[in-house]
């Protein structure tokens, strides 16, 4: 039990800190600290351009993709070193938002399934931020049922071996700024649903690919729909065998779990600060016993997630593989943030309805209120996460599956009310 750095870790931290101090775009720091809920906070510069510049600098000095091997442009650092880097990078980490999916999920999938030549071609520009990747998995009909996807890839009838893709993807973060996409398709609807899938990568410039932003409930547009109309993909851009797409996708999804940090935020630190300043009937809100009770329950969730993250890092540093138990982070953080936002607005009284720069903490709690429903859904809904914990952590039986051994085309697509 020890929160101190080892001498080696302390040396690494000093090195990282010195380099960041000398190289980070300090003129952006104040803006970046305002980042919230999908917005980088940047207004004085284009966030993507600023992100690419920072990533390039990091790559040149060996600080990019610390978890990747050096031959692909990575830093080959230990898990603890990555954590230390993240702590030191602080607000500048927001600049890497556009690369999260490429570095965390697409890159490792390419590494695992592409041939060496492709990896050496595709990965270094991804590591250095020259190229951005997105993940084309979810579909309107899919939702939690990821394998229920309907985007079809069929062999071209011209003998070229190329594939022709038609269909629609949804919830694609960053599609509008991506150079490459990792695309899962259905190549055989006559077999059960997990068996007829095939994975490809493709340039987002390929003719027939159309990206349309989705306006979200909170007014932001972080996600996109991507339409495919007779999009031609050479067979050489296939990852894994035909029909092996589900297995390939699991590499991607498992890597999602590897991106552990210090636990997700519940919004508690902000609420605590707010309650130190706000008043209830003339006294500091923090002295109100109802506020204290709620705060205490939020506090132990925040700190529980924080130290769960540290326990995971400890395990990682001892060589353990992070498992499904890390599903608790988003499950707890999403629901807590939503409750917490409602509570913060309640303390603001009728003024809580106002969402402006003049609101407490520049309207952060209003933004949390409006963003948190998405947190409870994206990347695995609360219900899917509880299934994962129940089944994969606690070993309970799966749900009864009616779609398991049925040819995909025979699975119903619409209920009746």
């Amino acid at each position: 039990m020890d929160f101190q750095d080892t001498p080696e870790e302390a040396a690494f931290r000093a090195e990282a800190r010195a380099w960041i101090d000398a190289n980070a775009p300090k003129h952006l720091e104040a803006e970046l600290k305002r980042a919230s809920f999908g917005s980088s906070g940047l207004t004085s510069e284009d966030p993507v351009a600023a992100g690419k510049a920072w990533q390039k600098k990091k790559a040149e000095a060996g600080w990019a993709c610390l978890h990747w091997p050096k031959e692909y442009g990575g830093g080959a650092r230990t898990p603890i070193e990555r954590v230390i880097w993240n702590q030191e990078e602080g607000p500048y980490a927001v600049l890497s938002g556009a690369f999260t999916i490429g570095h965390g999920m697409c890159g490792p999938t390419v590494m695992a399934w592409a041939d060496e030549e492709q990896s050496r071609k595709l990965l270094p520009p991804l590591a250095s931020g020259e190229e951005i990747w997105c993940q084309l998995f979810s579909e309107p009909a899919g939702g939690s049922d990821l394998a229920g996807l309907r985007t079809r890839a069929v062999k071209a009838d011209d003998g070229s071996g190329d594939w022709i893709v038609n269909g629609q993807k949804i919830w694609t973060s960053g599609a509008q700024i991506s150079d490459w996409g990792l695309l899962i398709t259905r190549t055989d609807p006559d077999v059960p649903k997990h068996k007829g899938l095939t994975m490809f990568f493709l340039s987002m410039d390929t003719p027939g690919v159309e990206v349309r932003p989705i306006k979200q409930a909170n007014g932001a547009s972080g996600f996109n729909e991507v339409y495919f109309t007779d999009v031609r993909i050479p067979d050489s851009q296939r990852l894994g065998d035909v029909g092996q797409g589900w297995k390939v996708s699991l590499t991607t999804l498992m890597n999602e779990r590897l991106s552990i940090g210090s636990g997700m935020s519940t919004g508690f630190p902000e609420l605590f600060r707010f309650c130190m300043e706000a008043e209830i009937e003339g006294k500091p809100a923090i002295e109100d016993s109802a506020v204290r009770t709620r705060l205490a329950q939020f506090a132990v969730k925040q700190s529980g997630l924080k130290y769960t993250g540290m326990r995971a890092i400890t395990a990682l540093s001892k060589g353990d593989t992070p498992g499904p138990e890390n599903s608790i982070g988003k499950l707890v953080a999403g629901a807590t943030m939503q409750e917490l936002a409602m509570f913060a607005l309640d303390i603001q009284g009728e003024a809580g309805v106002i969402w402006s720069e003049d609101s407490p903490q520049r309207g952060r709690f209003q933004a949390m209120l409006m963003r948190s429903p998405a947190t409870r859904i994206e990347g695995g809904s609360d219900e899917i996460l509880r299934n994962i914990i129940g089944e994969r952590v606690l070993g309970l039986p799966g749900d009864i599956r009616v779609d398991k051994d049925v040819p995909f085309k025979d699975i119903p697509t619409r209920g009746g009310s």
């Binding site: 979810s138 309107p140 899919g142 939702g143 939690s144 049922d145 229920g148 949804i170 919830w171 989705i214 306006k215 979200q216 409930a217 909170n218 007014g219 706000a278 008043e279 209830i280 009937e281 003339g282 809100a285 109802a290 939503q338 607005l345 309640d346 303390i347 603001q348 009284g349 009728e350 003024a351 809580g352 309805v353 106002i354 969402w355 402006s356 407490p360 209003q366 209120l369 409006m370 429903p373 998405a374 409870r376 859904i377 994206e378 809904s381 609360d382 219900e383 509880r386 299934n387 749900d399 599956r401 009616v402 779609d403 049925v406 699975i411 119903p412 619409r414 209920g415 009746g416 009310s417």
Partner: protein, 374 residues
């Protein structure tokens, strides 16, 4: 013993529901959300014509002369369709202030116009952050002129006049009727979590203010009228809860995942059951509120807080879980789930937030109205 609306009241409900389903589809609400104007004037005038605005206003003041129970029925229907109109400001509050405390002249002047929708009134109460307390009332009237800032004020951009709570010359709190077309009034529209209802900052710089009710009685009058309005808002929340629950139910029946209707998964089914439980408790508590409102029972303060706490809880729960049942689609701008989520969180704060009403409820119960606890 009869804890239900009468057949006539249910007919009124059906009539209003039919009208609103035609005149206030989600597309009409979206128009306001997306900023075409601050409220749906056609809808509002249509409601006036239908007799909805004047339902509880006596015939002698241009109203229909029905009663409070009818207004409850109407409120529930307005809440179901989250109607983008200033009924709460102009009718539940302003008209009630006039009926309770207005002089004969004031009533004769304003009630017919409120009833016809020709003018809109609002209640300018809030100042600053946090729970309203008497010491927060800083707006001041001297020599018949009012100075001060009130925010956020619902429908402040569109109201023709406001009932304003302000310090009088004896430093007590009195209510004043202030016309908002005066040069001394500035109105700044505010951004809110629910743009389907206007929120505005009103600044008064020496505008004519006419006393409403007794001098120094402002806080008391406001408390009574806010209690009454709280019951009506609870009915709006109840209507919203039911609609959000129905949307979720319908989607759970229609949407297939893993080869099954998602409503066949207990995670979804039980979430809906809990929404139903919450909405049902709210309905029963609202009916208790309606009874207290209409009968003038001494339990009204307790009943108002009960209805309000229960309905706030229900609407927030139903609207947030409606999004959850819809999954990703529920979080798109294009789906209507967020309209209900926005409204539920805005209504939760109107006339004071949940914690305020929770505290009031227990304070009132412990002050003697304890028989309702049994």
């Amino acid at each position: 013993m009869n804890l239900d609306f009468s057949d006539e009241q249910k007919q009124l409900r059906d009539q209003v529901r039919r009208f609103l389903s035609e005149k206030c589809p989600p597309a009409a609400v979206r128009k306001i959300l997306e900023g075409s104007s601050a409220f749906d004037r056609d809808l509002y005038l249509g409601l006036a014509e239908l007799g909805v605005l004047g339902a509880a206003i006596p015939e002698e003041y241009g109203g229909v002369g029905l009663g409070d129970l009818e207004l409850c029925v109407i409120a529930e229907e307005l809440g179901r369709v989250i109607a983008p109109v200033p009924v709460s400001s102009s009718i539940y509050l302003t008209a009630e202030f006039l009926l309770m405390s207005g002089s004969e002249a004031q009533k004769a002047c304003w009630l017919p116009k409120l009833s016809s929708g020709e003018v809109i009134g609002t209640f300018a109460f809030n100042e600053g952050q946090g729970r309203m307390t008497p010491d927060k009332v800083q707006a001041r009237v001297e020599g018949g002129k009012i100075t001060g800032t009130k925010a956020p004020i619902a429908d402040g951009s569109i109201a023709d006049f406001a009932i304003v709570a302000a310090r009088d010359e004896a430093d007590g709190i009195s209510l004043y009727l202030v016309k908002l077309d005066d040069d001394g009034v500035s109105r700044d529209a505010l951004e809110s979590i629910d743009p389907t209802r206007d929120q505005t900052r009103l600044t008064f710089d020496g505008c004519p203010a006419e006393l409403l009710g007794g001098q120094g009685e402002g806080w008391h009058i406001a408390s009574v009228v806010m209690d009454r309005a709280a019951i009506l808002l609870a009915f709006e929340q109840l209507g919203g809860s039911d609609r959000a629950m129905e949307m979720a139910r319908d989607y759970a029946l229609e949407r297939i995942a893993f080869g099954r209707q998602i409503g066949s998964f207990q995670a979804i089914k039980h979430m809906l059951a809990d929404m139903y439980v919450s909405a049902t408790l709210a309905r029963s508590n609202c009916y208790y509120g309606a009874w207290a409102l209409a009968s003038g029972a001494s339990e009204r303060p307790v009943a108002a807080a009960t209805a309000r706490v229960s309905a706030t809880t229900a609407f927030q729960q139903c609207s947030k879980n409606n999004i959850q049942v819809h999954g990703g689609m529920g979080f798109t701008w294009a789906f209507d789930c967020h309209l209900y989520y926005r409204r539920s969180n805005a209504l939760a704060l109107a006339l004071g937030g949940l914690s305020t009403w929770e505290s009031l409820l227990i304070e009132r119960m412990s002050a003697g109205n304890t028989e309702s606890a049994a």
